[in-house]
Structure formats: C-alpha cells, structure tokens
Symmetry: D2
Subunit: 302 residues, 4 copies
C-alpha cells in the first residue's frame, strides 16, 4: 500500500504546538470484505473517536472502495508518523491501495495561476483572508501584469511569467522553479494557457481548473457569443482536475444560473463569472478538506 | 408582409359561440422607428385594450423586432379575419415582416411521437386532461406498440408505424398521411428516430423535441453511463425546435437537477426523466401560448 | 436497545423464495467510541459484505450517532430473525439506542390520503406503476369522491371517508379501522384535513405530508394569492413528517422554482403543483429506502 | 401626473459632454385604453428609437399599468428637461400616474450601511470597481469600526456612527446630515439596526435591504441555528425595499442554495453569505437600471 505523505503545517512552528486534535484518514483500495471492520477497529484501539465517516464502493465485487474518516485523537500531531507506520503494517498490507493520515488543521499551500480576468482570483484571496478556505496562497503566477496591484493588496507574492508559443517551455521551467516544494495545490483561476503534460507530471500536486459550461457545450472561442446565438437558457461552470486532455479531467463541482434572451453576451459573461467563482471556491474548499477522491476519470465527493 | 393563418378553434362550432374576447397579435419584422406607435394606434382605434405586451429588438439598427400583444376585444372571433386584413393594409405593408392574429382561446392540435419511454408522453396527456395545456392531442404515433394501452386510457388515437432503416421513407409517408391537415404542432416525446428533412418540410408545422443535456455534453449512445463515468454533478434536459441538424435547433427551455456520485446511471436516468417531462411541458405550453418566437437559430421567450 | 420489527415482504410467498440477498441495517444510538468497529466486525463475521454505508454524528461527546448500512448476504431473508437476535445480544446491548435489519427488496405498504387536488396522488400512483418507488399503494382514502375513478384506473382500492367538524372523530376511527395492520406508511398527498394527535399515535407508522413553501412563509389561507401580493420570486414545497404541530415536523426534502411578476396566482399554483409532486416523490422514495433518519425535530438524509 | 426628477449625472461636468444617447422612460399609471399608442407616438415624433420596452398591467379594468422604455435619441442629455415638460403636457395629463425620463448612462449615488459582516459590502465595492454596477458608492456608514480599513482600500469615505438604544435618534440625525442630497439609494448590506419610519421618510430615496430566508421562515435571533434544528434543506436570501415593517417590504430578488444535514450552522451561514451577496448585487443592479417598479407591496421586475 502506498503511503501519501502528510501535508506540512503551513503556519510555522508556533502553530504546531497548538495543534488541533482532529485528524483525517483517507483510504482508497480494492473493495472486499472486512475493510471497515479493520479500519474502525484500528482507530478504536488507538483511542480515536470517529467524528464523521463517509464511504463509497463502486461495487462489492471487483470494485473500488473509498473511505474518509474524521476523528478526534488527543495529541494527534505528535502521533501522525507513528499512526501512519502502524496503519501500514496492521491494515494497509491487508487491504492494499493507498491511504493517508493528515492533521485536519493543516493548511494547504496554494499557487494560483491567472491571466487577465480577476473574478476567480480575487474571490479566492478574499475568502482566504476571511478564513473561509483552509489554505495559504503562497504565490500568484500570471502571464500578464494586470492584476499585480490587486494581489499585492492581499500581501501575496505575484510573479509575471509571460508565455508565448516560443517561450512556453522555458516559461513552464520558470514556473516549476518558482513553485517546486512550496505548494500542495495549483489552482487555474481563469488561466488562459494550456499546461503541458510535462508540467503536470513535474509539479506533482493536483491542479484544479475552472471553465464555463453550457447545455450543450460550446467548444472553442467566443463561447458566450455562441451560447447567445443558440438561445441557451442556462449557463454554468465546471471545476475539475486538470489533465493532459484539457477540460476532460474528473469533475469536482458544477452549477448553473438561468438567463433569458434579454441578456447580452456581455451579461452572460458577467453571470458566468459569478458562477465560476462560486464553483471554484467550493471545489478548492472541498479538495483541501480532502472530500474529493479521484477514481479514474470520475470523482467521489463526500 | 406575410400573413400566418389563424388556428381553427378545435372544439367545434358550439365553442365558437362562447368564444373568449381575448386575442393575440404576434409580429416579427425588421426593427425601425415607429413600429410600436403604429401597432398600438391600430389596436387602440379598433377598441382593443392591451392586457399584456412584450417586445424585444436584437438591435435598433439592422436588427429584428419581435412583439407579442395580448388584448381584449369584444366579439373577437367574428372580427379576426377583418382585423387581419386591415392590419396587413394599414400596418403590415409599412413595417414588413410577418404577423398573425389569433384567438387566445384557440386550442393547438398536437401529434405526439414516442418510442418506448413513457414519461414525457404520459405527462403531456395527463396535463392536457387537467387543463394545464391549451392543446388537444389528436394523435399519438409510435414505432413500437408498448404504450398503446396507456394512450387508449386517455381516449386518444394511437397508431403504430414501425420504422426500420429500409422502411423509413414509407413510414414517414404513412405518418404524413395520418397527420396532414390535422395538427398544428408535432411533439417528439422521446421519439428515438431521426425525422428526415423532407418530413420536416412537408409536415409544415413546428416540431418540438426533448433531449437530455449535460455539462459537458455527451453525444451518442449511453449518455447517462458516460456522464456517470465522468463524475457529472448536474444533469439536465433541453427542449428545442427540431431541425435537420438533430439536437441543434433553437432552444426553448432547459433545466437541471443536482446529482451525486451515489447515483447509479439508472438513478441518473430516472432523475433525467423528471427533468425531461417538466422541461417539455413548459416548452409545449409556452409554444402554444405563442410566447416563443424564433429568430434564426435562437429564440425569444416572452 | 429497542428492536424495530422488519417489514413483511408485500408481494406474497412466491416472492419470498426469490428474495434478494441485499439487506439494510439502520442504527440510531448515543455516540461513543467503537460503534463502527463493533457493527462492522459483527457484519464481517456473518459474511455480510458492505455495499454502501453512511454515518453521521451530531457530536462525538454527548451526541447521537446514525448509521445506515446496505450489505450483501446470501440467503438474507431466512437469516433476518437470527441476525436481529444476535445483533441485539452482541452489539445492541453495548451501544444502546435502536436498530433494525430489513430486506432491501421489501416493499413498503402505503396508504395515500387525498382531498381534491390530484397531482401528488396521480404522480405517486404513476411512479409506483413504473417501478420507480419500492412501494405498494394498498389504499387511497379521501374525504371527497372526485378522484375515485382515477384511482380505480390504477387498480387501487379507494375509500371515501367524509370529514366534517362534527364527524372528525368517527371519520378517523373509520380510517384507522381501514388501515390498521395493513400499512407501513401514510402519505398525505394534499389532504386538506388536520389529523389528530390520537390518530398519529394510534396509526403507529410514519406519516409524510407535503405543503407549499415560500420565502418568507405565508401561513393560513390563500398562500399563492398572498405570495403574489408580496412579489415572491421563488415558490417551493416541503415534504416532512407529520406531527401534532401541523407543518412543523422534521423536514425530509424541499425544492423551489423561479417565478416572475407575470405569473398569475393560478400559474403560481400550477408551478407549485409541479414542485410538490416532485418533492413528495423524492421524500417517499428516500423514506422507503430508509435513507431518512429522524433526530428529534430534524432529519439526517443519507 | 407627478414628475420624478431625473438623476444628476454623478461624474462631473466633463462627463456631461460625452453623454450617451440612450435614455429611459418609466411610467406607472392607471391602466386604460391607448396608453402605449400615446407614449410610443410621442417618442416616435421626437425621433427616439425604442431599444427595449417592457410593460405590464395588473388588469385592463381598474388595474395599474407599468412601462419601461429604453430608447436611443441623439443629444439626449440636452433634451431631457424639454422632453419631460412636453411629455407631461402631451401625454402625462391624459394618462395620469407618474413618469420619469432619465439618461441611461447616469450613475446612481449609493450609501451603504453595514455592521460587522463584510461579505455584502465588499462584494458591492468590488463589483462597482469592476464596472459591473452603474453606481458610485459615495459613503459607507457603519455602527462599528471593524470594516474601516477595507473600505478605505477602495477609496470610499467611511463614517462610524455608533447606535445604542439611547442614541438611536441622534445617530439617525447624524446619518441624515451626512447623506442628505448626496445619495439616490441607500443599501443596507447586513446593517443590524432597524431604521425608524422617520429616517425612511426623511432620507427620501429608496432603501434596499438583504436578509436570509428559509422555507419556512425563522424570525428572530439565531436563524441558522434554528434552520439547522429543523433540518432545512434549502437556505436563501431575499432583497427587498425597506419599509417600516422590517423585512416586509416589496421583494426584488430571491435565491436559494441546497444544503444537507452535514452542514454545521457555521457552514449554513457561510453558504447563506454567498447567496446574500449575489442576491443583493442583482437587486442593486436591477434597481439602478430602473428595472424594478413598485406596485404597493409587490414589485414588477422587467
């Protein structure tokens, strides 16, 4: 069984000492009899009291089993390493798959990529400042400089990395240099460049993307104009994990808003921006709370 | 200016005499100054009192103007022909485009095409019986016989017209023979055959279709299975006018329902059925109330 | 620990023999350490393989714990009594609270109470016939005779029990006589009479009610007229368990639909009817699938 | 007929000269024959070309008629006074009621009242800065100082006016002194004080309020806790015009979001905050675009 390393706590040593006593265990393994009995017996013997537990199986025979447990355990932080090791020996070897233990108070270190549209970026920064998201935005990266001052106002580092067809490889090299080892999550907050498969491989952390969505879909340029032409009555947004096939990764969250023929394509775009920022914020929050488990091309959202 | 003939009243001569005094005027013409002044002055002079009026312009310069007026006029039915003639002379010739006057109490004669799924068909029949839809279902046509008894229970004629790749042309010929001159609207209530361009041309009345919709769209077979694979969080339905390019006609109405990873593809399909019948019923109602005006590939829904 | 008796299988002995091998265990008890470990170890030892499991705690200290497990176990039906007895001894006595085992293929026997509005009743009958709801409607009771023929068409017994202020007690007596021992659930599908506390006590099975809901609420007569007067933009419906305090019981499901100032109060009422039947159908389905656990005045819906 | 004075243009004389050529006429009068004919003939003769027009009647006999026209007219700004005078003479005297002409490019001067919750205030400031709202926020007033720095960052004047039971009258006096003649609209963006009837009378401009809404409603303190207790599945927000009867004024806009039993009351409150800011922003936008016409206790929203 693979052990996923726990997140470092982001806010320095001072916070370590006042660590919460709430932890999370996330398991993904082949389904089979007795998994819950083994896991819950392990936690019970350790003195962990389950606060919330969600599980899902894609099918008892040949399916995959997903479990997310939130538990209370005094002095959790100092026991994480030992818990992880013992679980691997006592449970993991029997059930296979992957698992991770994590301090529920851990802060996810996030890099936000953005181009010129500010709505998703500012909403994330603002929610972070209010304490709505368990994240620290450690870096904003943009291929334009338009939003530098907005980001500075939040005290967050901003780096412009211009990208052209010719410089794409070196730009990604610069981005990786900037972020390597510093982030647990990359959020594409209306970043209008396609990241290469090499980038996605090398960065080694999940990447969440947001894009507009319609019924039906309009691929390519000018989607709001084309939605307008077709008389679309609902416009929406989809947050998903980025994969090589752009816009084809596992979906985390979606929502829509109703529009009428009176809305201009500019108004559709404004309404779309509202949905995009709401959907992206939910996706980031749920991801950081480890509620989103990926199963191939689909997701389990607990 | 083209004059669209008014609908016959569907319920026989007896009803003629107790005709309502409420009429509708629908106008679609090139936008330009003074249209509303001309139309409203015409109606005012005739003694018609406007109850509701909606208008929309795609742009004052070079755009198209759409108007739907509901008005009260004593003894409307006996004046419809004269109103139509006078409007053509006094207003229509000046503003161009098309218009039609209609008795708001007129009943739209509908043929429903269906295959094996019963939910949309039964919902339409049931709403018609309760008086929710201003329609008379004069014929149900199916390529299967499964739903014959259900339709008979509503006292509506049911005709099976089997369709295979080889017999499609003769099947459509039979359908046209059955319906010609008897219907004002065809509703495809989960009819799993594609109608030919010739059929659409020859039938000469609008055809409304319903189909499932997702964010993103999944074209082709097994859409609910594929939506499930991708982790879709919203499933929806779209009602639209059928055109030669299947599923590409002007959209009338759309709606969605939220689903989670726990829903099986069978459950997605059941939830989809609920949305489909609701969306189709709205689209049929609005069409029959003449609230839906087509502008190229888009719609104005008043 | 209290043992809730399992539902009889509704469709006769023939069905008993071809029983499914899927069962459900629902537990509600004081939260405390080790519950999941005990339950899952019990099931594991019996050879039951967990298909789906949901749990929720209102708080690890002093809170209440809710668990719903769906499991696969060959020859389940013949083992239910033994499972129940053994669970009571081995687990129930330790954790307290209540539990029940049930065959997931069991059909819930339902009585529907209705007055004159047909939309909720017909929707339930229709969904039952299509196999969407795991129920058998064994009796329709109405204080009016309007819907007798509609019900007869579904082959379901219909009984008129008129109710006036004076005859209410004897009417309820007649209703109880009719239903006692024959039903597992009563559904008030727009039944415009208030059931007495005595009735609710004596009938001894859950009662689900549906009523319109608005933001804000409009108590009393003519709610759609009053919603219209106030310019309400959303109308909704709430399905809840009936308690003595009418419309104050634990909420099972709610939904809304958007309306505009153009909708007359008659149209609001029609839109409301669509929401009511959808929300009621969901509530009945979830109840029968034992997804709804009551916790005082609130619900857990798995 | 009463003439409502047109809004001054807010951005100084420089802007006057580059005035747009788009105007709006809003009429509210007793319904009767020929109103649209008179109004449209008046506009047509003046060379105004109608871009968009919405009308609504509460009933042709004894009802009230509402009209909103957006029109194009070269050199509109310099003609507004004359248009207003001529309309009063030529049309207004015949139809009665009230009307106003306004430059569609005019900016609405807004005062925002707030207590400690920042979400509605910051969303309004942020949308204003992006150009999404046709407003200028000229003053923020708060009974607390918590949000002073946030407001300063947007370059908007902030004034703390503490309010206690004893000082309420003098506090309102100070508020009126601060705002009189400087604002066209007051927005209560989670202002936790009740404004007196005298304040509402004296300020003389519309006041928009936002508050949480549930199905059913929970009046009084701790609404999210009480919604949680009851198992509410939808939480919402209502934007309405403030009247003496708090929370009872005409409703402008409402929306809801779905929640489950897993959401804590803190999470309900966060989800509520998202809905509140979205609903308030829509209400303010529509009000400033003069899409909201008040009819007694209800609204027409075009």
């Amino acid at each position: 069984m693979t052990i996923t390393t726990a997140l470092p706590r982001a806010h320095g040593a001072g916070r370590e000492e006042s660590a919460s006593d709430v932890g999370r265990l996330v398991v993904s393994c082949p389904d089979g009899p007795g998994i819950v009995a083994k896991v819950s017996t392990f936690l019970h013997r350790r003195g962990a009291n389950i606060i919330q537990s969600d599980q899902y199986s894609t099918g008892p025979v040949g399916g995959r089993f997903f479990l997310r447990v939130e538990f209370h355990l005094p002095c959790l932080t100092s026991q994480l390493a030992e818990l992880t090791g013992d679980f691997a020996t006592e449970v993991g070897s029997a059930i296979g798959g992957t698992f991770r233990f994590r301090d529920a108070g851990a802060v996810t270190r996030v890099a936000v990529f953005v181009s010129r549209y500010d709505h998703c970026l500012l909403d994330l920064l603002w929610r972070t400042r209010r304490g709505e998201l368990p994240v620290e935005v450690v870096q904003v990266v943009s291929n334009h400089s338009d939003l530098a001052a907005d980001v500075a106002a939040f005290g967050v580092p901003f780096e412009r990395v211009p990208v052209t067809r010719e410089t794409k490889r070196s730009a990604e090299h610069r981005q990786l240099e900037l972020l390597r080892g510093r982030v647990d999550l990359v959020v594409l907050a209306r970043y209008m460049q396609i990241l290469s498969a090499e980038f996605l491989d090398t960065i080694g952390v999940p990447v969440i993307n947001i894009h507009h969505s319609f019924l039906p879909a309009f691929a390519g340029a000018g989607p709001y104009e084309r939605a307008k032409e077709r008389g679309v009555k609902l416009i929406g947004a989809t947050a998903h994990y980025a994969t090589e096939d752009l816009d084809e990764g596992p979906i985390i969250e979606q929502d829509v808003v109703r529009v009428s023929h009176r809305a201009t394509s500019a108004e559709l775009s404004r309404r779309g921006a509202d949905i995009e920022r709401t959907v992206l914020a939910r996706a980031v929050k749920w991801h950081c709370e480890e509620r989103v488990l990926v199963d191939g091309r689909t997701t389990i959202v607990f």
